[in-house]
Amino acid sequence: MKHLDVSAIKDGSVIDHIDNKSTLKVADILNIHNEEQVVLVGMNLTSKLLGKKGIIKIGGKIIDKKEVNKIALIAPNATVNIIKDYEVVKKFKVAVPELIEGIVRCFNPNCVSNHHNIESKLHVINKNPIKLRCHYCERIMSAKDIVLI
């Protein structure tokens, strides 16, 4: 099988080492449906670390911090490569921040953050497995409760 070269796009972002089953969720986070440049999505690729992994390449897009934080919540092993002129100019592993603001909806329907025009805010109380505590209503959410905004 031909090696997948992360520099195969001229400029853009490559998200590698995505947990295989989370690949399409990461694609949603990156809103690839509205991209006009090259987008490559690979799944079921062999990975020493994960067994099977996913990879997404997006031409012409530098992913932002908010997107990185969202990806960290559902694909904590993912790495991000920023490509410029076919070269990797920056590479980093996603990391779950201590505080998650504005990207996850509190799962408690009676939480004030779901009724008032305020940004959701969740404290990360455990990174692996992920556990979040709502800053407002204090309810604890695990991975299955996470709904991205």
Binding site: C106, N108, N110, C111, V112, S113, H115, H116, N117, I118, C134, H135, Y136, C137, E138, R139, I140
Partner: protein, 331 residues
């Protein structure tokens, strides 16, 4: 290390705490939002201050201070005991208990209401039906916010007075066996009290119908804190172990579906005869945050077990202690 408490006002008293200071944060201008924000030493500090409030006259230490009492949900004990506490310390009270007569009825946001009211008072006591509303209020103003109940989430001052009542009637908070009975799913007082008691090597029994069990996250948190806790659907077999029963009302207002409420309504009804039949410790104490509906029979009221009306009265010294500490009269 010893902590010395001396009033700033003309009234002077002094007493000494035997607690470690390392876990003692200042109460001055502090928001009282969740019991989770307090260390054991801080809980005990307020309980000792409440005891002082019962023993001496502090009738002018909050002179000139204004409390805004904002109740977006019904309340009898919490609202009146806060207002009584403030007035007994010489302070003034403004506020409402009918949100329908405020700008909230015109669609004003909670944030805007609180920011406006901040200009009229020194401290706010807030009860609101949305969980997290007190934290939201605390985030948008500089004056201290006291959470008087936010939906099914927290009611920290009730917890302080529950602890105070247990300590007063049992002589200690350490190493007790406590049964929580009734609506454990929506009962915010249960969630807060269970968390607070986790500091005191308490063994906890949670007795409820399956549909009203303690929330999963509360149980996980207690187990993470190494609390010996058990879940049961009946008092049978455990009643003799209990030092305290903390009984709660099954709250009709928390049920979206009235059919679900009817299924559990009246499922527990404590009575003197029932407890005698089950077998209990002679020095058992029964607490209830009140109001009660049909979960506790009047036959209990005159027994030595019943301390719920004392518990309600304890709301005043405990809330006096909290108001005095937060408004910085004591430091």
């Amino acid at each position: 290390m010893l902590v010395k408490i001396i009033s700033k006002s003309s009234f002077l008293f002094g007493f000494t705490y035997m607690f470690g200071r390392e876990n003692m944060g200042s109460f001055k201008q502090r928001d009282i939002i969740s019991i989770r924000h307090f260390h054991k030493e801080e809980l005990l500090y307020i309980l000792d201050l409440a005891r002082q409030m019962e023993q001496a006259d502090y009738s002018d230490i909050l002179k000139g201070k204004v409390l805004a009492s904002l109740f977006f949900e019904p309340s009898t004990r919490t609202r009146l005991s806060f207002e009584s506490a403030m007035k007994r310390l010489g302070g003034l009270v403004i506020g409402f208990s009918e949100p329908g007569i405020t700008s909230a009825a015109k669609g004003e946001s909670l944030s805007d209401s609180i920011k406006t009211i901040e200009g009229y008072c020194d401290i706010v006591v807030l009860r609101h039906y949305l969980e997290g509303s007190a934290q939201l209020a605390a985030d948008v103003v500089d004056i201290p916010i006291i959470n008087a109940g936010d939906g099914a989430n927290q009611h920290p001052t009730q917890t302080f007075l529950d602890l105070y009542t247990i300590q007063k009637t049992k002589g200690t908070l350490e190493g007790l066996t406590i049964g929580f009975l009734g609506d454990l799913k929506y009962g915010r007082t249960v969630h807060s009290l269970a968390y607070a008691l986790s500091y005191f090597a308490t063994e906890m029994f949670f007795i409820s119908p399956a549909s009203l069990r303690m929330p999963r996250d509360c149980m996980e948190e207690l187990r993470d804190r190494k609390v010996r806790c058990h879940e049961n659907e009946s008092l049978a077999g455990i009643s003799k172990k209990l030092d305290v029963i903390y009984c709660t009302r099954i709250q009709k207002e928390r049920f979206a579906d009235p059919v679900e409420f009817e299924k559990v309504r009246g499922i527990y009804r404590l009575s003197k005869a029932m407890l005698e039949e089950l077998g209990i410790k002679n020095d058992l104490k029964i607490l209830h945050p009140l109001p009660r509906v049909d979960e506790m029979d009047g036959s209990l009221d005159k027994t030595s077990f019943a301390v719920y009306f004392h518990q309600a009265r304890n709301g005043v010294p405990v809330r006096k202690a909290i108001l005095a500490a937060v408004l910085g009269v004591l430091e």
